[in-house]
């Protein structure tokens, strides 16, 4: 009731209100125009081909570079690289959300429904701070450190300082590969720090002279060469280097795979073939991985 009364009273203020309505209509028009434009661009996009990749954050930067080169060679093709971890890549390919998954390890027996195509090799190195006198550790010593049986560096040939154990987060392929190498379960590991990506692991070890961690060899070698205080430990008598991964003698290495749910066809097939061809070897090396020779 009072509302109706009020409206009658302020008839004179109508022109001002009207201006506000006009302004709002104007903004509405802009929004509608934006949406309309977005819709108008839809048909052109469905006409062009689009490919979605999801998965391993280790592969994502490399895949992004390969995708850029592929797009420049094939106008009208769009390749969207998303990230989130290997497990996510497998999940999304199975669900059909992504055409190609990126998985930075070999497929497990229960993933036999997928097809894997290796685009590069990567090694995993144990890293310590450069100020740490330890040069090498046996597999048993590493396992003991990670399960908390060795808690001080002097038990492994170092100074009398408490070891900070840096472990990778659940779902990371690096973690799975590492556990597989040590024949351990993740629940047995007693970590002090849990990290996500490689550069984060290196930063953690650089910032803590008593830390031990494990990261991708390429990334660690790059940082060590740039003078970062980090040392790569040799494993089983083999020096941790990209070269030894290339030769296949380093014990802790993994394939970087593109996976699909069925035999790849059309665009997916062309992209996978391109990613395995010598045309992208410079890109693989630029991301500190080891190129593979597709047969």
């Amino acid at each position: 009731m009072s509302l109706i009364n009020n409206r009658l009273v302020v008839k004179t203020g109508m022109s001002k209100n009207f201006r506000y309505v006009l302004i709002h209509l104007f903004f509405l028009a802009i929004v509608v125009a934006c949406v309309a434009q977005a819709q108008a661009q839809m048909p052109t996009k469905t006409a062009s081909q689009r490919l979605v990749l999801t998965g391993s954050s280790t592969i994502a930067p490399l895949a992004g570079e390969i995708a850029r080169r592929f797009e420049s060679l094939h106008p009208g093709v769009r390749i969207d690289v998303q990230t989130g971890g290997s497990s996510r890549g497998i999940h999304d390919v199975r669900k059909g959300i992504a055409a190609i998954g990126m998985v930075s390890r070999a497929l497990k027996p229960d993933e036999a429904d997928l097809q894997a195509f290796t685009i590069a090799q990567d090694g995993i190195s144990i890293i310590v701070h450069a100020g740490n006198p330890v040069i090498t550790l046996s597999r048993k010593q590493i396992a003991d450190i990670y399960t908390g049986r060795i808690t001080h560096w002097n038990a492994a040939g170092g100074t009398d300082a408490r070891i900070t154990v840096v472990n990778k987060a659940e779902g990371r392929s690096t973690l799975e590969l590492f556990l597989d190498y040590l024949q351990l379960k993740n629940s047995e590991i007693k970590p002090h720090v849990i990290i996500g990506d490689n550069a984060q692991g290196i930063k953690t070890v650089i910032g803590n002279p008593h830390a031990i961690g494990y990261v991708s060899i390429g990334a660690a070698e790059y940082e060590a060469r740039r003078g970062a205080p980090v040392r790569l430990l040799s494993l089983g008598g083999v020096e941790a280097s990209v070269e030894n991964v290339r030769q296949g003698i380093f014990p802790l290495s993994r394939p970087l795979n593109l996976v699909t749910s069925s035999e790849p066809q059309g665009l997916v097939r062309r992209f996978i073939e391109f990613a395995r061809s010598p045309q992208v070897h410079d890109l693989v090396r630029a991301q500190y991985f080891v190129p593979v020779n597709a047969d």
Binding site: L3, N6, R7, V9, V10, G13, N17, Y20, V31, C34, V35, Q37, A38, Q41, M42, K45, V52, S57, T58, A60, P61, L62, G64, E65, R68, R78, D80, V81, Q82, T83, G84, I97, G196, D197, N198, A199, Q200, I202, G218, A219, Y222, E223, R226, A286, Q287, Y288
Partner: protein
């Protein structure tokens, strides 16, 4: 007499001590801000150039610039604000002006907003991925990212706007009624301008949170660093780019610093503009 003097000195001392502590607290806050800014400037200024702002990233972000990422970030922000601000502010107006403060409806809405404000951003990310990307079929796109952010911004924008509107003296509303203004006219000409600085502050908090968001956008607006053609393209946000460069790309530290510097600069600019605008609005509408 001597005792009196002693009490007096004690009071002065206490006064001084409190004053000193207050100054220390203020200095500490400014020091943290200046430290962050100085650290960013020290690490990033050498890498910053006009090309950095106008080129697209190359070599996983180590080379090239951040032009496409800036565009994506601003588009995501625009979508989020265009969606969240009208909804949030109108619900705040409803809560303050049209619903009694202690009605069950108002309480329910307020409670759900508080719960929403406490939800971690990764949960919003997963929700956005499941709802916008997959269920609504928007895919990894700027639209999905913006809408997910809009959900995150709703509680901040609504609560701040509500507090701002409640802070407007009740006498304003009475006077407006006495002068025969309609409810709407009073709202548009008096109450909203009076609350404008608080609304702007809330908006800034929201923009800050939106620009800083990483986790929620990883699964919604995605990781693609290409220049977006439309709102349905995937586009990487600036915060996500910084995270990826510093955590996932070896040798990405310099561009990460420079990008962070750009992000901080962007936030400062937006802050200053919004504050100026809000004060201008308040003065134009009320003071004259």
């Amino acid at each position: 007499m001597r005792e009196m003097k002693n009490i007096h000195t004690a009071q002065v001392l206490r006064e001084r001590a409190v004053q000193f502590l207050i100054y220390v607290a203020v200095l500490l806050i400014s020091a943290v801000f200046i430290w962050i800014l100085a650290d960013l400037a020290r690490g990033g200024i050498a890498h910053l150039s006009w090309e950095f702002l106008t080129e697209s990233p190359r070599d996983a972000g180590r080379a090239g610039g951040i032009a496409s990422i800036l565009v994506s970030t601003l588009l995501i922000l625009l979508v989020a604000l265009l969606t969240a601000v009208p909804v949030a502010w109108t619900s705040a107006i409803l809560l303050v002006e049209f619903v009694p403060a202690d009605s069950p409806f108002g309480k329910t809405v307020r409670f759900s907003l508080h719960v929403l404000a406490g939800v971690p951003s990764i949960v919003f990310g997963l929700f956005g991925n499941a709802f916008f990307c997959i269920y609504l079929g928007l895919g990894f796109s700027i639209l999905s990212g913006g809408l997910t952010l809009a959900c995150m911004l709703l509680p901040i924008l609504t609560s701040t706007a509500e507090a701002g509107l409640r802070a407007v003296p009740h006498a304003y509303r009475m006077s407006a009624s006495a002068l025969g203004m309609t409810h709407t006219a009073a709202l548009v000409h008096l109450i909203l301008p009076a609350a404008a600085p608080v609304l702007a502050a809330g908006l800034l908090l929201g923009i800050g949170r939106a620009l800083a968001e990483t986790a929620a956008l990883l699964f919604t607006s995605g990781y693609v660093e290409r220049m977006p053609d439309s709102l349905l393209d995937s586009g990487r946000a600036l915060a996500l780019h910084i995270f990826d460069l510093s955590m996932n790309v070896p040798g990405g530290d310099m561009p990460a610093y420079a990008s962070a510097l750009v992000l901080a600069g962007l936030l400062l600019c937006i802050n200053i503009t919004a504050m100026k605008f809000a004060h201008g609005l308040q003065r134009r509408k009320i003071m004259t």
